[in-house]
């Protein structure tokens, strides 16, 4: 049975574990075998402590045997993006700056997963400090799209999406600041949810842009995504911006066929590839046929989203990344000198070019004499965008767009053109600026490359988004899809 375990959903694995027809050890051994065979090819993981995984699996099996199983995730491996702290495991953010760091503490989500009995399964590659849309900015390794190994998996949670698409793990955690869960989910043909800002504690998530960052679940099906979301969402006194869920359960509720879906005017014209537009239009037609009310909505300030994002996100990042200076942890330059010279040299050596670019941009937009023209104006634009989204969502249950305008591009294709790369996130960024939940659902292919559509809802409307996703998923063959490797 070991040869097919990697194709099963977390829900099915959980049922077999509960029935006693499968042990966590057998599952983990099978996945480790697959990891050994494929990780060099795909490059999803940067670290996997196999002995630790097996020890966790044995502990889980023992709990279950003793009748002390902790719920539906008991014994199920969850792979974790390398910017989320797990005690005793590397916390590098795929940066040379933090390459020597082992976390001395657990993030809130790591605690939640342990409390749910899940196996904390390895560290996933990412763009350095979550800055990028292709995972090419990792200082550790490249990650390839399992559907076409010449292409990027998306980013910054590229490892999280690629690991799922390659069948290396059933569930993974990503983080999303401007689309970093949803864009790679779309490119790799998996499900990715960016929850409402404040639903999941950021304690232990290495900050890129604090007012935009959220941890979110990634899976190969809506059901699995819900399973993971339910384990993660809870209030946490260690994150003052986290209020947790109003209702713990995020199982789809209500009648999905009565949903009102808004289509933002003009979104499908903005450099959207024809195959992507076709797949998304087919999804819209599906919902209409199911009885959903489809209407066009106006979001006049949408064009401001990308520039607003790159001012707000880089401003916060320039401050958040200030702490990496070689004094307390992380990379320290070997060149001698005064403490301040050492800090300067450590930062110059430790950060990659995209991170430096964003730190410089963020430092500039906050500088005396420029802050009013850039940062303060961006905050105003952000408030305007949020207002327009909330107004639109007062009239409909959710907005539907493509997740990404085009399918995954070739490795290196956009490496020399950061501005072009920034447009990858044009549809996903507003949800971060407005703090709204957003879901990417696989909806077809452009040739051999996956395409996803994107649903954005009002704050704490995760259950509705998931219900809409499940309705679509049930009628199409995209759940549980994996690339043939």
């Amino acid at each position: 049975m070991g040869e097919v375990l990697h194709t099963l959903s977390a829900g099915e694995l959980g049922r077999r574990l509960a029935a006693g027809t499968l042990t966590s050890r057998a599952l983990c051994e099978a996945l480790i075998t697959r990891f050994k065979a494929l990780n060099e090819t795909v490059g999803a993981f940067t670290h996997l402590d196999q002995a630790d995984v097996l020890a966790q699996a044995d502990a889980s099996d023992a709990r279950r045997k003793a009748g002390q199983g902790r719920g539906p995730l008991e014994g199920i491996p969850v792979a974790i993006k390398d910017n989320i702290a797990v005690k005793g495991q590397p916390l590098t953010c795929s940066s040379k700056m933090l390459a020597p760091l082992v976390s001395p503490y657990d993030s809130h989500v790591a605690e939640r997963l342990r409390a749910a009995g899940a196996i904390l399964y390895g560290r996933l590659n990412m763009d350095e400090f979550a800055m990028g849309s292709s995972t090419e900015n990792s200082a550790i390794r490249k990650t390839f799209n399992p559907w076409d190994l010449a292409r990027i998996p998306g980013g910054s949670s590229g490892g999280s999406a690629a690991a799922l698409a390659a069948g290396l793990v059933p569930l993974s955690l990503g983080s999303d600041t401007g689309g970093s869960i949803r864009q790679p989910a779309s490119h790799c043909g998996v499900v990715g949810l960016k929850p409402t800002y404040g639903l999941i504690s950021r304690f232990g998530l290495v900050a890129f842009a604090s007012s935009l960052d959220q941890i979110g679940p990634m899976a190969r099906s809506i059901e699995d995504c819900e399973l993971l979301l339910n384990a993660l969402a809870s209030a946490d006194a260690r994150d003052m911006t986290c209020f947790g869920p109003a209702d713990r359960a995020f199982a789809p509720s209500g009648d999905a066929k009565k949903l009102r879906i808004g289509i933002p005017k003009g979104f499908l014209g903005k450099g959207v590839a024809p195959e992507v537009a076709a797949a998304v239009n087919a999804a819209v037609a599906f919902y209409r046929a199911q009885g959903c009310a489809i209407s066009e909505v106006e979001l006049p300030s949408s064009d401001l989203a990308v520039p607003t994002y790159y001012v707000v996100a880089t401003a916060e990042a320039s401050s958040n990344l200030g702490r990496y200076d070689g004094v307390r942890y992380g990379h320290r330059s070997a060149s001698a000198g005064t403490p301040v010279e050492m800090m300067t040299a450590s930062r110059s050596e430790g950060f990659g070019p995209e991170v430096k670019r964003r730190i410089l941009l963020g430092t500039f937009v906050l500088s005396a004499g420029y802050a009013d023209a850039y940062y303060v104006r961006a905050l105003r634009a952000r408030a305007k965008i949020r207002g327009e989204y909330l107004a639109a969502l007062a009239g409909v249950d959710m907005l539907l767009t493509p997740t990404v305008p085009t399918p995954a591009f070739k490795v290196g294709e956009k490496a020399s053109d950061p501005l072009q790369l920034y447009l990858e996130d044009i549809f996903t960024i507003p949800a971060n600026l407005a703090g709204l939940p957003a879901l990417s659902v696989p909806c077809g292919k452009s040739g051999h490359l996956p395409v996803g559509f994107h649903l954005v809802g009002a704050p704490l409307s995760e259950a509705k988004l998931l219900a809409a996703g499940r309705l679509f998923e049930a009628a199409h063959g995209f759940a549980h899809q994996q690339a043939a490797l």
Binding site: S211, M240, S319
Partner: protein, 491 residues
């Protein structure tokens, strides 16, 4: 010809950094205190480990609000935190969380008392306005050892209330008086301990000068990190003289940040305006705007102690205390409250109680106790002291005997009456018995000469008769009564 110095007026504004008295640090649960080994009072949040987040310590916010109430400030509905970005190894995140736009305390004023013409004369009172006070985090300490540098983060994250005055101070004496008042008010409210030896109070001192009678402020300098009241006083004196010298020599004052060498009693330039930091302030996205409920303000209002100068005025006007005793008492809230308990037990003579408290009690406490002087460990209780004063007032013992009894009470904690009885100190105030003794002494021919002298107008001659009376009563005769009786019989 040079202008006389008195033609110049100095204008001073202070920024006073006070470490608040709290159990935990301001944004982390790590405890803090003095005298620990380096880097023992740290946790992942204090060290700014990747992924950690600040959580505002409610106790620190409440102490800040309490300070605001003590100085009569308005407590805003909301306050928020900003990041002040700068790189230095003692700053774990390379930004400091502070309050730039919406501080926890806005406005308020501190009453000060300037030195009087002599120790026994009250000086002028003034009010110094507070611009605002904001709650921020302290940084660590960097030290250099040999070829390397060492950093200790125990102090990092300690809650720091920065109290910023308006430029209302006009002399080194006013600056000194302000700090003494401020420290008294802060410590009496339990907001902070202000132990300067432990670095719990540090000042930045802004000084400028202008021609007396003019309005426009001169260019100011800021001398940073002064860790004692005397350093602030010396800095004002030094900086005033330096600026007068510069302007009178036809030079101008450079807006600059200065340091202070307390050993050499001189300042030095740290950096000028061109080198000023661009701190790139922006609202901290990790800490949502904090709402301060009116219920919290009401609850904290009940903790505000009586203002020390209100208390001083009450002691002088209502209790009839002399200025000196009143001043000694009001500077120490515990002492004043102890005094008031004693007065409650014997309301007839507050001055007599104040005299014993401010002189005898404080002296013996200072001489006996291991520092700090503690009223809690004092064996005499307020009601017992009141009992001693009452015995004196009733003539049971003399004032001289009261001192002796006090010393005994201080070491044993026994009641005054018990000591008086045990020592047989009770005065003889039996008029009938004393009349008899007085008449016998007057009849003694040995004192006839003194009686004649007294009758001839020599007042002092009467004292010669008191010795024999005391001798016959083993010194227990009430001296006041004897005096009265002698005068009665000698007509």
């Amino acid at each position: 010809m040079s202008t006389p110095p008195s033609d110049w007026e100095v204008v001073i504004g202070l920024e006073v950094h006070v470490q608040l008295h709290t159990r935990a640090k301001v944004f982390a649960s790590s405890p803090w205190g003095f005298g620990q080994e380096p880097n023992e009072q740290v946790d992942p949040v204090v060290l700014g480990l990747p992924g950690t987040l600040p959580v505002v310590n409610r106790e620190a916010v409440e102490k800040s609000i309490l300070f605001g109430l003590v100085v009569g400030a308005s407590v805003p509905e909301h306050c928020s935190w900003d990041r002040k970005n700068y790189f230095y190894p003692d700053n774990p995140k390379n930004y400091q969380l502070t309050q730039k736009d919406f501080p926890v305390v806005v406005g308020g004023q501190v009453e000060i008392e300037l030195p009087g013409a002599s120790r026994n004369v009250m000086g002028e009172h003034k009010f110094i306005r507070i611009h605002h006070a904001h709650l921020e985090e302290d940084v660590g300490k960097l030290s250099h050892a040999g070829s390397g540098s060492l950093v200790d983060y125990n102090r990092a994250g300690v809650p720091l209330l920065e109290i910023v005055t308006e430029p209302d101070l006009r002399s080194s004496a006013e600056a000194e008086a302000f700090l003494r008042s401020l420290v008294a008010m802060i410590t009496q409210a339990g907001v902070a301990d202000c132990d300067m030896e432990k670095g719990q109070l540090r000042c930045d001192c802004n000084v400028s000068i202008r021609r007396r009678g003019t309005e426009k402020l001169g260019t100011r300098t800021e001398t940073k990190n002064l860790n004692s009241i005397s350093s602030v006083r010396d800095t004002v004196i030094y900086e005033t003289a330096r600026q007068i010298r510069e302007l009178e020599a036809g030079r101008s004052i450079t807006q600059e940040t200065r340091g202070w060498n307390a050993e050499l009693v001189r300042g030095y330039v740290l950096r000028d305006k061109e080198d000023a930091h661009d701190y790139r302030y922006f609202p901290d996205p990790d800490i949502p705007t904090l709402k301060i409920s009116r219920e919290t303000v009401t609850r904290l209002s009940a903790l505000v102690p009586e203002n020390l100068y209100d208390r001083q005025r009450r002691y002088i006007a209502n209790l009839g205390l002399p200025y000196t005793a009143a001043s000694v008492l009001v500077n120490d809230r515990a002492l004043a409250e102890w005094f008031e308990l004693a007065v409650a037990a014997h309301p007839a003579n507050p001055s007599g109680i104040a005299n014993l408290v401010a002189n005898d009690l404080l002296r013996d406490l200072a001489a006996s106790a291991t520092a700090p002087v503690s009223l809690e460990s004092c064996l005499i209780k307020p009601a017992q002291l009141a009992g001693l004063v009452k015995l004196t007032d009733e003539g049971v013992i003399s004032k001289q005997q009261a001192k002796e009894v006090f010393t005994e009470m201080f070491t044993s904690g026994r009641d005054a009456a018990a000591i008086v009885d045990a020592k047989g100190l009770r005065q003889n105030s039996d008029t009938g018995e004393l009349e008899k003794i007085v008449q016998e002494v007057i009849a003694d021919p040995a004192v006839a000469k003194s009686i004649a002298e007294y009758r001839a107008g020599n007042e002092k001659a009467i004292n010669a008769l008191k010795g024999p009376i005391m001798k016959r009563t083993q010194g227990k005769a009430n001296p006041v009564l004897i005096d009265q009786l002698l005068r009665k019989f000698l007509g």
